[in-house]
């Protein structure tokens, strides 16, 4: 694969995504002001000291956005990692073991998917505290159902290949078949799905925080920043639109990259690519 063959839209996506990640990782060095320090008046318009103005308590909005990127990206990434490991391992297991294991797991996943993710997350968060660990677990487990479906479908196809049969005949166990035969061959379609799941987690986390049930103050992610500043909209203060736009921009950037990877993998399979 040469760098030249990457389309321009994918380049834009890659560069923007890397910028977001860079800002998140090096937040204390990039941000002009500390995260929670009050440095000005309430909802000041943008000026040379405060590039994007200040928020509902007089904190620097740009700095809050950069620190918010940290929380948003970290939690979404952890939840995606959890949903992928859980979903793909269970999906492969179901495909390899078959029989009642497959039956029980698949019916359970069907049941979980019958409830919309946001609604079920709200139901569970009504009794659990909104801590970081709880959020990652709830988001990860609920999203693992989607990964499970994909992983199982891919693994069922691979499971009937001759090389898997050969591995079985020489006496390898289920663990070997799952991790050494199926995983390497199922990786490409799963990686293509990774970006889409990550976007979904970002949108879910933002929605939860916006509803006041995600990240709790004084910590802030982009969703809770929208919530903090939403009252300004009525007075013509657009502060709440900025974190919302940041979510949209990050989601679009990742989508552009994911789209390109998805097209690449369908090309590899000889699909029509349309």
């Amino acid at each position: 694969m040469s760098l030249r063959r990457i389309p321009i839209s994918a380049w834009i996506g890659i560069i923007l995504t890397l910028m977001f990640v860079f800002a998140a990782v090096f937040a204390p060095w990039v941000a002009p002001f500390p995260n929670t320090q009050i440095v000005g008046g309430v909802w000041e318009p943008s000026s040379s000291t405060h590039l994007l103005g200040t928020d509902n308590l007089g904190r620097d909005l740009l700095s809050r956005l950069i620190y918010g990127a940290r929380t948003t990206i970290l939690i979404a990434a952890l939840a995606t990692a959890l949903s992928f490991s859980l979903g793909s391992i269970l999906g492969f297991t179901a495909a390899v073991m078959g029989g009642w294991v497959d039956m029980v797991l698949s019916r359970f996943v069907d049941m979980l998917m019958a409830i919309p993710t946001l609604i079920f997350a709200l139901v569970v968060l009504s009794v659990l505290p909104s801590t970081l660990v709880v959020l990652v677990c709830v988001m990860g487990v609920l999203d693992a159902t989607r990964v499970y479906r994909l992983a199982r479908a891919v693994a069922v196809d691979i499971n009937v290949m001759d090389y898997v049969e050969a591995a079985r005949l020489r006496g390898e166990g289920h663990l070997w078949v799952i991790f050494r035969e199926i995983l390497p061959n199922a990786l490409t379609p799963l990686v293509a799905e990774l970006g889409l799941r990550f976007i979904f987690q970002i949108l879910l986390l933002s929605a939860l925080s916006f509803l006041g049930l995600g990240i709790q103050p004084p910590e802030a992610d982009w969703g809770s920043m929208v919530k903090e500043n939403k009252d300004g909209i009525v007075f013509g203060v657009g502060a709440a639109l900025l974190p919302a736009a940041a979510i949209a921009l990050l989601a679009i950037s990742v989508n552009l990259v994911a789209d390109w990877i998805l097209n690449r993998t369908t090309d590899l399979k000889g699909g029509r690519g349309g």
Binding site: T117, V123, V127, L128, A207, N255
Partner: protein, 319 residues
Amino acid sequence: MRGAVAKLIAQRVGLGLLLLFAVSLLIFVGTQILPGDVAQSILGQTATPQALANLREKLGLNEPAYMRYLSWLGGVVTGDLGTSLTSGQNIAATIGPRLKNTLFLAGVAAIIAVPLAILLGLLAVRFRGRWPDKLISGATLASISLPEFFIGYLLIYFVAVKLGWFTSVSTVYDGMGFGARLNAVALPAATLTLVVLAHMMRMTRAAILNVMQSAYIETAELKGLSQFRVILRHAFPNAIAPIVNVVMLNLAYLVVGVVVVEVIFVYPGMGQFLVDHVAKRDVPVVQAAGLIFAAVFIGLNIVADVVSILANPRLRHPR
């Protein structure tokens, strides 16, 4: 044969009811048997032992979990959703008008979004590969990534605050005229439409394009029919089943999107009701609202299945 179709439909509906039953169990388990004490998490760490004991008594926490589930399920089946912990009111009576409000909002959004999405999908196929198609595809890619509150607050900021065409808060009350009600839900309905439009249109386009590769489409083209006639008369009827599926899935998504949109516009519907009571940790209300949302979601999926059975001529006229 009519019997075969009826049997298939009965099977789907039965399966849906079974699923709904399983979901009620899941919602109950999700709120009751999680690690930790429900009474403790409702009242917080500072609660006195006496208050905890009282609440446990009130919630029936001293009984075994399966007994509580059975009595809850028995109540739900007979239309009794229990009483709210925070207000002490009957939940079924409070939820009724809110459910109506939500269905009205979702209905208005659906009436705008569905025909528009199908029309745009047809246009994208008619001009596939040319600029209208590319424009529509690009716009959908962008709008799939936009969170509901971004669209909602953009509309409030520009249409309500800057232009002053609508109010930023959608107040509805009893005895409000139909026109006034429609005016109140204009912005939230527009937001919901924008949220589901893109996805619905993209899938409509994919469904029709899939049919367009069949041999009979080539025949119709070679007969010299106009492009639009080929799409409308030959491709569209065969794409109805997948399109209806897409529409139903998106309506189900609309019902979920309603939660966030209602909070943005302070609209007194089910979504805001649910969110308020999650924050108050009012478990009986959360269970009831969660179950209703899940029931609507499952119901729409059943309708999608049934319509695709009915739209399939092979099932309607078996050899």
